[in-house]
């Protein structure tokens, strides 16, 4: 039944196509022939095709040149890149070329400087005063000593093992910001000294040990474990930190 229906449909479709399409009027053959001949005659030959390709190529080159010129003009309008042409520093300028406080505009790095940084000798039981200048840091810092003989000055400290710096107890802190500390002769380690608003902590040290040779270290104890922590390369992980100049306590003559 299906095949009969299909056959009938095919027959009907064929009849319909013939009836409708055959009814369409067409122009005489000569019309199409002449039009085709004209089209054939105007078709470009090999040279014509070469010229055509050359025209397209020239158009692309000109468009690329225009795009390049537009890009150059746009760059000139925007001005020179700071990275490409830095502003030269005048020869008479005394300003430092770079400093962290000038370059780090968004979040300046915390910093601890301990002064003086020069080495000095003082008599036993005499005092030497240091000032730690702390910037971009809040909270408190710890104060300790390291043996100046073991401090190489290359950013590393002698390790006492387990990632802790070897501290010295040959000297003691006598006062902090003018206030005496240590009821019985001071202490060699002072934990969590609050950072004042001006960031300056002045402290004095002394020692009763002849030939004690120490350097004060001021550091931000993080984590708060009252230790000066070092990494595997003996570099401090408690940051920032500052190291003052060495003090030798010489015997009184």
């Amino acid at each position: 039944m299906d095949s009969e229906k299909r056959l009938a449909l095919e027959l009907a479709l064929e009849n319909r196509l013939r009836a409708d399409l055959d009814a369409l009027a067409v122009r005489p053959y000569l019309y199409y022939r002449e039009a085709a001949v004209r089209r054939f005659a105007t078709k470009p030959g090999a040279i014509g095709r070469i010229f055509s390709v050359a025209r397209v190529g020239a158009t692309i080159v000109i468009a690329a040149l225009f795009a390049l010129a537009a890009a150059v003009a746009l760059l000139n309008l925007r001005g020179p890149s700071p990275a490409a042409s830095p502003t030269p520093i005048p020869a008479s300028s005394t300003a430092p070329p770079t400093s962290p406080s000038l370059t780090a505009t968004s979040s300046p790095a915390p910093l601890i400087n301990v002064a003086p940084i020069d080495d000095a000798s003082v008599p036993v039981n005499a005092t030497r005063t240091y000032t730690a200048t702390i910037s971009n840091l809040s909270g408190c810092v710890d104060l300790a000593f390291v043996d100046a003989n073991t401090y190489p000055g290359d950013g590393t400290f002698r390790s006492a093992g387990n990632g802790i710096a070897e501290l010295s107890s040959d000297a003691a802190i006598r006062s902090i910001n003018g206030v005496r500390v240590g009821a019985t002769g001071g202490t060699g380690y002072f934990s969590c000294i609050p950072i004042p608003s001006d960031g300056k902590i002045t402290f004095t040290i002394d020692s009763g040990t002849a030939n004690a040779f120490v350097r004060p270290v001021v550091f931000y104890d993080e984590p708060d474990n009252n230790r000066f922590d070092l990494d595997a390369n003996d570099r401090p992980t408690d940051k920032p930190f500052g190291v003052g100049g060495a003090t030798r306590f010489v015997p009184r003559t």
Binding site: R6, L9, L13, R16, D20, L21, L24, V26, A35
Partner: protein
Amino acid sequence: MDDQEWDEALEACYARVLRALIGACGSRERAEDGLQDALVAAWKPGVREQVQRPDAWLYRVALRAIGRARWRRRFEVKLTEDVRHEAEPSLDRVSALELLRKLTPRQREFVVARYFLDLSYREIAEQWSVTVSSATSTVAQAIARLRRDLEKEHDGWIRKSV
């Protein structure tokens, strides 16, 4: 086949081919452009020696030219041009172009080739470089689609009109 015989062969079949092209692409203008392109191609050296059926060859080459000239999508959309709309969807009253509009471009080309130009499935397969079974199934799908659509529009149209 010399020039004169070739020209006579083309003259004998061009009208049927043009009508078939109108049926397949739905536009007289594009069909005529395609036919002219096919005639230009027909006079290229070495072509006539390879042609078995001039009408089938012209039809296929013209369709290719039409396809090149227009985007395929536009080719399909434009088929709605020149279509008469009948109220009653029986086969007797539905125009051929309206019937063909229901088919895909490939189905239209094959249906016109099969039922209007009387090409066999083998000739269709040769012209379009497809297998005979592919040509057969394409036409069968077209017939099934026409039947399904017409049944949907008008219940039992086959009993009434066939």
